[in-house]
Symmetry: D2
Subunit: 376 residues, 4 copies
């Protein structure tokens, strides 16, 4: 992809915590070029440098300080938008933009559970992008919406995926210890978390138990995604950690693996984005740490060749009730939010959904090297 050909992209909700991550991750991106920053009506027309309280380490990219925040509506100068909107506004804005021909890569939950909207982790279910044709036909949209899962679900399902492929998951028990950034910048008051754990996160357990894992690991039959058939029990907790969701997980399979089998499944895992060399795909989708006390949020949340994009696992051991137990950890605002959407967009670009030569049939996936080479 030469630089003239870069795909112009915008960010919806650019002033918020996830919006800032999109902006940060798009700096110097080899395929995408940030061309529009959009904000809610109360900030439209303001300078980005004035409206945005930059929360990330390091400074706001200097050249963006003077960009004027635009309205989230058709007419913005880009081909693809990344959506960091809350669910409410996302419902209307994303549909409007998709109808008008934009590709919407959304971190919002508004459309995640629609049968014709792909809920994607490129390592896990890239073939689900086949739903896009259905979505466009059914809705009469020029563009389309593709979504990524909730931050907690992302790392759980990422760690489970190669095990599911090999042994067939039947039961999952998961207890999360989630970072405060998952609640947004002002979502969790310091009065609540200092010297404390808050054992409740609204709607989180429902997402993890029944709405997302079964769709992510479901089979796309060319027409629809057939939900995977396993049961999840989830307890979700907020802990005094800034970034990084840790989860204690126990799993049962159709075929009981040895611990060595599980280790091998993770070690030999080489999913599509890594084989394709997508720019934001880390060398290791899953990293196993050997130490008795890892992964830990502060130590491991930025693990991997693309910091924050790897799922870290550890403490694999036999489970007295189910088959195995282990820990998963991952960055919630990188892979679990902005980075997840970005990798989806890279998959879509590589598969020709962004104006290059689109694959006739998604079941031809995985894409081979030559195909990638022709990508814009």
């Amino acid at each position: 992809m030469n630089s003239q050909a870069k795909i112009r992209v915008g960010v919806l909700g650019a002033t918020g915590a996830v919006g800032q991550r999109f902006v940060q991750m798009l700096q110097g991106h080899p395929w995408f070029e940030l061309s529009v920053l959009c904000a809610s009506p109360r900030n439209t027309g303001k300078r980005y440098g004035d409206a945005c309280n930059w929360l990330l380490r390091g400074d706001m990219p200097a050249h963006l300080r003077d960009w004027v925040l635009e309205e989230m509506a058709p007419g913005i100068d880009c081909q693809l938008v990344f959506s960091a909107l809350p669910s409410g506004p996302a419902r209307t804005v994303e549909a409007e933009l998709a109808a008008a021909g934009y590709v919407v890569c959304s971190n919002a939950s508004a459309y995640r559970y629609e049968p014709d909207v792909p809920l994607l982790i490129p390592e896990v279910n890239p073939e689900h992008i086949g739903l896009i044709d259905l979505q466009r036909r059914q809705r009469g949209w020029e563009g389309f919406i593709a979504t990524n899962p909730n931050c907690s679900t992302t790392h759980l399902v990422s760690a489970i995926h190669p095990l599911h492929e090999a042994f067939g998951v039947t039961k999952i028990f998961v207890v999360t210890m989630q970072a405060v950034s998952g609640g947004g910048y002002t979502g969790v008051p310091s009065m609540d978390v200092i010297d404390n754990v808050i054992p409740y996160i609204g709607a989180e357990e429902e997402k993890m138990e029944s709405r997302e894992p079964q769709k992510l690991l479901g089979q796309f039959d060319g027409q629809a995604v057939q939900m995977a058939d396993f049961v999840v029990s989830a307890h979700c907790n907020r802990v005094p950690v800034r970034n990084g969701h840790l989860a204690a997980v126990s799993v049962e399979f159709a075929r009981r693996p040895s611990l060595e089998d599980v280790r091998r499944a993770w070690a030999e895992y080489e999913p599509l984005p890594q084989r394709m060399g997508l720019p934001s795909a880390p060398d290791e989708a899953i990293l196993y740490r050997e130490e008795a006390d890892r992964p830990q949020p502060r130590m491991d949340r930025l693990a991997g060749s693309v910091p924050g994009m790897t799922t870290v696992v550890g403490r694999l051991r036999a489970d007295p009730l189910l088959h195995v137990k282990f820990l998963t950890l991952g960055h919630n605002t990188i892979r679990g939010a902005a980075g997840g959407s970005l990798l989806n967009a890279e998959l879509l670009a590589a598969q020709g959904y962004l104006g290059g030569q689109k694959q006739a049939d998604s079941d031809q996936l995985p894409v081979t090297e030559p195909v990638l080479a022709t990508v814009p």
Copy 2:
């Protein structure tokens, strides 16, 4: 019990975090009178005020500042000792004292798993004190050792006990989020816990899975405790909280209860210490909180009429894998350590094991009001 008749007690390991709790809880105790403070050889002979870095809110009781720390050996002037020793020293010191006729109420794990040593929660298995006769006979000791369980096990088993009585527990899944005080004053460096979770506590999962709950809920048949037959899977984690161990728990029973059944079992629970009115028994052994986001460590660790002695439960709901799921919370250095030992000592006193009129046969428990009335 008139004040002349108070039982003289000592504290082993009085300078440490748990030792200080013993000292604090014994101030003004109606039955026990602190008469000896013992410390490790390096502190023997020093003033308590000099050797002890007081960690609890409020000051060290002023009259204790000048007490001289004594050696942990027969000859100390008391009838009962509370042991806040590490497991290693406890192994030899506790045996030596028990052999010499002292009653040892120990928070150490050294003797917890011996078949002839009671592992006690007075609400849960008071009849296990019957093991004491066996212990004295077998070992030829004048005195004896009684122990309380690990801080995490205590609150888990306390919450489960009435459910086990009513429905028969078969499977427990538990993930703990434990306070740093459980590791002792210097046990958890601040470098490790700020902005972090440490998903490993040495030997803790083993204790919770197979060593303690089955003994605590086992049947005493007059000769031995027959281990209860259920399976536990435990993940133990350290979180940046000072005090209070929170646990996410899912349980399966022999007879599936409704949520209402579980609520009722907790609400109607009125175990022995509460009926006997033991001084350190809180009015409610188990307290259910209705809020969606409780219990929380900082808010609920001091709940109850005797602060820190109640087990708080909440968020009861159906579990997709097992039967029900809920949260438990309790103070780890009060009920989970010093307070647990103290309540054991009160039970022993009330049952005549401290020189009053001993019950001939522990299977006559629970003790009725008249018995308590004759207690010192």
Copy 3:
């Protein structure tokens, strides 16, 4: 004061963090009886139990759950209101109520700097209540407003007061390390304070440098308060602590005291509220801790016979630049907010400003024992 004669009081802004403290501290008060809870328009008409997210340890007083929140306007059934309003609403509501005859004891900053409104710490400047006559005359109000200072200023000036009396303060250097509760429940996002210090609190340094200490330590000449003449330099910081404002302080005086002189001035300090025995006055207005590393927020914020009402000082030593340096610590939402207002109200009651026999002339203060005896 017999219970029939209790003064009926209301709380403005009863659902917020400071409002809850008022409610909590008024439970069982010997002189005051809570009769009205008021809230902002959006909560008026709701049950207190529904509108208020109770933030304090322990439960909301059960009998208040069903109280209906009332509008903040004349007509409410009480004689005195405690105001926990933000500055904006306070400006209009407090004036309206004072005009209508209510006594307003306000924690808001809206009227603190008006020349005819007393800014009170009962230990420091009780004679400033003489401004009330002026206030009523000038404004034609039936009632009046009395205010307490900012949470940081309160403990600084409390610690300085006896030294100022004895040696005449000329220069103060102060750096605060303030708790997050000072910013209100949602004021400080957890994203900001975990593993961090925020070295800025809006308008706080201005209050400490020039607006409050000079008025508090000023002389009331019967007509006006003549500002005290000393210079303050303040740096204000927010630290990851829930409650308790710590400050490092260096001071220069007109007459250089020895360290022993300073210690004695604190030790012999026995101000009016303590001599009068006001219900919320702690036995020790100022408590000096001897340890090298105290006061500390978590250990000392609840010090004193009335928890949270004492100012704790420590680490007194010679200062290389000014004369002495030391630390001050105090609870910011108790003495520094609700408790400060409450003690003001008690002083007003004791001085006859609440319908008892009013003192003819405030310069007769300090009040002697017999006067207190005739108080309602």
Copy 4:
């Protein structure tokens, strides 16, 4: 400098927190090649991977895992040692090695205050290396010791230096809020800092008030360092932050500068290491942040082109008592410890003290480009 010519260096105390920083910063260093890891007797002979609990983000460099820890004594294969020893062992070990011909760049305080040992910040007082000749002559040592200051002093003096040059400092008031890593890995128990501030750090205030700043800013007259003549008052506090020491500072000068003068002095500051291009010298020795609430430890501790080596300042404003006030922030284990020593070693190498062509006379400093070019 070609790679054959790299200077072989060792680390004393390689398993500790500061030792690990030395190891980390030496990876890929252009001038130095790590050749020896030394540890205390109890770890001598062990593998580094076994003896060292790696505390830094990212893994221990893999090739070092099998290195065997050596004894800290003459004979080790290197020319220069970095010392991360505690003060006690440093006293004997460092002298022994210096006597035997090694160059010792020490972070310990053992020799900092000796009149013939340079206490160096390369930006501040590079000419003090002239003391080395004196040191060797007086002590008859083949090698020598050069030290860097305490972590808190480092950033204070770094920020003050250009102001002292321009306006002549006379008085400094400083209150620190220091990170827990300054106390070493196990130095600050989590029980102490959660929800707390500890307003005491042993011997820290003495170092900042009278031992270090006056020597650092003193004049080297060819024979000795004449202490600078200004007075410092310091209060030192430990806050719940992992890394980064923040300080609130007020300063008075011989010539009162405007705020603009101060800003300009910082902006135009271009000290020797930056002009020489020493490898670990950041592009900006001092970075001024414009925001009202910066610097903050978490956001700014890794600022600069060489992360952790820049001193960040902010919130410059007029001081009511002295002339100006501002904040300083810097990383305490990088620039404040290992990085400080490393930059000292680079200065020594560039000046020919490591076997290249030594400068005849240190007053010829600053060194010009050609000199650097001839350095090994």
